[in-house]
């Protein structure tokens, strides 16, 4: 299978001390005040709208951007909108040391690449990865090249089922490709 490559500009979500923000919850990603919206095109404008210091994110984000966050990204509620708002902005991928279990599923089911990386904290603190760097992510193998700094690192490859759903585009497309998936 041809390697799927995501190339984009990194956004490092850090606090005032420059540390990766951990436990970013879905109310910070997509606030509950906008949960009535069902049109994905309308959701991008609220992405990270409640995360201190990133309120301007939707106006600055461009297609293919790659978000870098601290551990347990997407904690809290089960809202799909916290994924959809990034699809709306055509964000390429999110990389974090870990994701909340529900967020992890929601993203894969909607075809948003979420990739775990245990080296992130180190990379960011040593300035091996900064906002604006151009990254190239090979989804299947998990190899990542920071083109700007010429540093490579790796992310955990997705498991086969997750990868299949992601490559199909979303869970619905996967279900059509494999009717009766998992049927007893």
């Amino acid at each position: 299978m041809k390697e799927k490559i995501i190339k984009g500009r990194a956004w490092i979500l850090t606090d005032e001390q420059g540390h990766l923000i951990e436990d970013i919850d879905t109310d910070q990603i997509y606030h509950n005040a906008h949960l009535h919206i069902t049109d994905i095109a309308q959701m991008g404008q609220y992405a990270l709208g409640n995360l201190k210091g990133y309120e301007y994110f939707p106006s600055k984000a461009t297609q293919g951007d790659i978000l870098i966050a601290g551990r347990n990204f997407g904690a809290g509620s089960s809202r799909q909108q916290a994924v959809d708002c990034f699809l709306s902005l055509k964000i390429g991928a999110i990389i974090a040391p870990s994701f909340s279990p529900i967020y992890w599923r929601n993203a894969i089911n909607s075809g948003l690449a979420v990739l775990r990386c245990s080296q992130l904290t180190d990379l960011v603190s040593k300035r091996g990865l900064e906002t604006g760097d151009i990254l190239e992510v090979k989804v299947q193998s998990g190899e990542v090249l920071n083109i700007t700094k010429n540093i490579d690192f790796s992310v955990e490859p997705m498991s086969p089922v997750q990868l299949a759903i992601y490559l199909a585009g979303n869970l619905f497309a996967y279900g059509r490709e494999k009717p009766g998936s998992g049927q007893k």
Partner: protein, 416 residues
């Protein structure tokens, strides 16, 4: 091969090999959606499946619990979208007059031991309290589950947690839960299932079990189980399910990824200060902080027993002038029981207001928000920035919320 509780429940619902880290296709006994997430499920369904039938209309439900007054047009519109879809597909709607979906599923005997259930509610895993593998999911997952009755799931590892010692008699299930959040944080249980053992958890009532299991989400876990129950909890569960409560138990050689002992001897009131539910302190360390309002309810503390505990503090007393206390019973059944026991009367006489059942203040719910600068002491489960308006939320037990509303500052019930 020896298995943990979650592995056994999953094994009963899949043909795939069950091993931590493996992805299996899981048969779902119940699939639900709420007034938040539900309209998105309908939209996805109509786009992807048009007129195809749902997998099993008798086991697919809507539960409206977030905006149970339909106070804004956008929410009323969304509820109506779900109702029309339900009518078309022959699904039952537990409408705005029922209360919190997860609690209704238990009371109606739908969520039972050893079953599987999904819904658009991140606290679906509180069903672990009755031994049901409940799991919150987003609208894509739920749409797929409506249509197929299945979902994919990565079998989690299990942590075994043994609680040693006896908490102080003044400590409630919420204090125990916050203390566990304090000890476990969001790392130990991350992406894992938990099993709790020891008299401190095994003696809990159903309400107490729900309190603990509801906050596994705040500890980043998948679900928590307590396979032993007090006689009282067992009777409460059997009253709802109308069958003997026989939960699957872990094998003695079950493979745990971690075994932990936590000493809860002498445990007293705990509170979680902003900005997160794991930012927990002994109440006595922070007592005296001014508060402006209180909230008693939510899927964590909205049962009869929780409300009753608060009225034991409030009875014969008045809430401090200027402090607002909002009370929201979890379900219609709880509301009725409160009415019969005179609990609502005590709330009203103390100066509190009692609202119709539902989720309360969470997710811009019908109990309203907090304003900028407002400090609210709440029995809810989340105090992340902006979760309930622009104010600050302090999480506590019903007793501590009641005592604090009497004085206007964080107060231990024992200090009254």
């Amino acid at each position: 091969m020896a298995k943990t509780i979650i592995e056994k429940i999953i094994q009963q619902h899949t043909q795939d090999e069950v091993k931590p880290g493996r992805i299996v296709w899981l048969e779902l006994d119940l699939r639900t959606a709420r007034d938040f997430g539900g309209p998105n499920v309908v939209k996805n369904y109509e786009r992807e499946y048009a007129d195809e039938p749902v997998a099993d209309a008798g086991r697919t439900f809507f539960t409206f619990d977030l905006c149970t007054t339909g106070c804004l047009l956008r929410y009323a519109d969304n509820q109506q979208i779900c109702r029309l879809f339900a009518r078309k597909h022959g699904l039952k709607v537990y409408d705005v007059d029922w209360g919190i979906g997860t609690h209704v599923l238990i009371e109606e005997g739908l969520a039972k031991a050893n079953t599987t259930c999904v819904g658009t509610d991140s606290h679906m895993n509180l069903l672990g309290a009755v031994g049901c593998f409940g799991q919150g999911m987003g609208d894509v997952d739920i749409t797929f589950a409506f249509r197929t009755g299945r979902t994919w799931f990565e079998v989690p590892e299990t942590v075994k947690i043994k609680l040693i010692g006896e908490p102080d008699p003044s400590a409630s299930a919420k204090d125990l839960t916050l203390f566990l959040a304090r000890n476990l944080g969001t790392k130990v249980l991350a992406e894992r299932s938990a099993e709790f053992y020891g008299p401190a958890v095994e003696s809990l009532s159903l309400a107490g079990r729900i309190t603990l299991c509801s906050m596994i989400t705040e500890m980043a876990g998948i679900i928590g189980f307590i396979s032993k129950a007090s006689l009282r909890a067992r009777q409460e569960m059997e009253r709802f399910s109308c069958e003997p409560w026989l939960p699957l138990e872990a094998d003695s050689e079950a493979p745990y990824c971690q075994e932990i002992e936590i000493n809860v001897a002498g445990l007293k009131s705990q509170v979680a200060l902003p900005p997160s539910p794991t930012n927990v302190y002994d109440l006595k360390e922070v007592a005296g902080r001014p508060i402006n309002s209180g909230f008693i309810g939510s899927c964590t503390n909205g049962r009869l027993e929780d409300l009753e505990a608060a009225t034991r503090i409030l009875k014969g007393r008045r809430i401090r002038e200027g402090v607002i206390l909002k009370v929201v019973p979890a379900t219609r059944r709880v509301y009725e029981e409160c009415l019969q026991k005179g609990i609502i009367e005590i709330f009203l006489q103390s100066g509190a207001i009692v609202m119709n059942p539902g989720c309360g203040g969470c997710a811009e719910g019908h109990a309203g928000l907090t304003g900028r600068g407002e400090v609210q002491v709440s029995t809810g489960n989340r105090n992340f920035p902006g979760k309930q308006g622009k104010g600050e939320i302090i999480l506590a037990s019903p007793e501590v919320v009641a005592a604090s509303c009497l004085t206007g500052y964080l107060t231990s019930p024992e200090a009254l």
